[in-house]
Symmetry: C2
Subunit: 352 residues, 2 copies
Amino acid sequence: MATEISTLGEFGLIKHLTDSIELKNAETRYGVGDDCAILQYGENKDILVTTDMLMEGVHFDLTYIPFKHLGYKAAMVNLSDIYAMGGSPKQITVSIALSKRFGIEDMEDFYAGLRLACEAHGVDIIGGDTTSSRTGLAISITAIGEVEKESAIYRNGAKETDLICVSGDLGAAYMGLQLLEREKDVYYKQIETAKTDIERMAISQPDFSGREYLLERQMKPEARRDILEQLRQAGIRPTAMIDISDGLSSELLHICTQSKCGCRIYEERIPIDYQTAVMCEEMNMNLTTAAMNGGEDYELLFTVPIADHEKIEQMKDVKLIGHITKQDLGCALITRDGSEFELKAQGWNPLT
Amino acid sequence: MATEISTLGEFGLIKHLTDSIELKNAETRYGVGDDCAILQYGENKDILVTTDMLMEGVHFDLTYIPFKHLGYKAAMVNLSDIYAMGGSPKQITVSIALSKRFGIEDMEDFYAGLRLACEAHGVDIIGGDTTSSRTGLAISITAIGEVEKESAIYRNGAKETDLICVSGDLGAAYMGLQLLEREKDVYYKQIETAKTDIERMAISQPDFSGREYLLERQMKPEARRDILEQLRQAGIRPTAMIDISDGLSSELLHICTQSKCGCRIYEERIPIDYQTAVMCEEMNMNLTTAAMNGGEDYELLFTVPIADHEKIEQMKDVKLIGHITKQDLGCALITRDGSEFELKAQGWNPLT
């Protein structure tokens, strides 16, 4: 720490953070600096808008997530929502409320992360709000993007016999969080019990070797633009699509409820990384539960007509995990031994 | 109070609050319910985007602002930014983070206020995020609107000899806040010193009669669409425009800095309501300071070519307060006795 933000003031801080931002998209006519940003979208485009709010102590813990990663993740989870409609993100606005305990350097790091994510996806930062908070940090990001007119992919288009597909692997971000929480507890217990300076100096930093993938999935999620590109190249148009933020189970139920259908997915087909499996074993947790309900994967879950079966089989990093059924058959997971379990919405567990 | 929000859950709460929302604008193709909202704007339109974050204890105090007013105000301050570019608001997204101490009824009231503001201005609520907070309430609203292509009114177009105009009157919202703060202190002091139940029952509720206008300005600001309509009818196109959220002084400096010019405004011309003046007198505060630096007026401040002088004089509820000068003359207030005072940026006083 840290240069106090009061040395710059509101307008000074905004200028400091946004001065070097270059607008790159033709759709962005004017960015930071007036009452509004100004956009121009082509007449053959629909405009997509999504927004997310992240609260300290609920969505992130600054004990272990660095500001740069926080900025990166905050942007990425919004870009993921634009891709989940089949669109291309073009702009974000960034609002942040911060308390006295944060310095200018923290905000620089946060913006560095934001900009890294935006540059990787060709997105302009066009505005926002910077204000103070009495307590923790609050972040609100709105992403805007485009999709060919009338071509957005909704959650409600899945049809009976459609195949259910998922990108990447599931449960790793959740196990990364479990790992970080565990090491945080260990660290604080060591601090509590250390009686002398020598004991305090001997407190070991956690060793994350062999678990890097779990941490990366938790702290640096990647929105799957590449999957949309593959689908386009393969000539596949998903009938329904959603990104996995609250867990596979919850997102599948969204698709089935809105599409008025049921589904069967197969436990043995759920893509899981080796590190995720090892971590679950070590922590005595159920692997399938972690993959089904863990959340924060930011992978794409989508359905395609059964006629695309072979094309899907040839796609890299996409796995076919089940199929859509009639609504009255419900939504179920078929386990390795052939039992059926009804899917339950987990989602956000509010205020409890 | 209050039904616990946990009885509904995240998805239940969102459904409860948004189920009865009807989309009214042709530009809104799809609202709440998918990963993104979908908009279609005509090819001859530019799109305006603005966002604001409101934090409990910083921007509002739930001791005296009811949830319905909070929702109304939160929407209105964003609509005001769209009007300040010469545009028409069409959509808002609403993100809210709340802690356990709030109930479903609070959220219903908040949404009732939001909807009242949106209906009055023909705006659709198209999405948002509802999540939990460890401490206070956080609100983030993004407003989207349209303006004729290449016709947005920026802050940077003021020219030497242009006239400086302001709508409505200034300082009332600020004095409303002072009044509320004073009565809150009085109330808490009475509670502290009351020793018996009879004494506690005798604590008087504040009497706001004769000060209703101040409270209304603080708790129920109105974005000035009517002023834009008047300007359009009179055939006046402002050269620069901004809405007054941080105080006249601060906003004038924004216009002058961005337009690379100076200004002279006249103390005697600053529009002030009778109740504002009485309140300042009663509280021993400087009236001009309240009007110049109070903020939260949400009036429009704009400049017009000198040729529009007569047209401006005929406008209702618009006052000519000064003129634009060369940059090297600086920005000054001319007092009643002819002295010049340099304008200072107040703005937000961050984290101090």
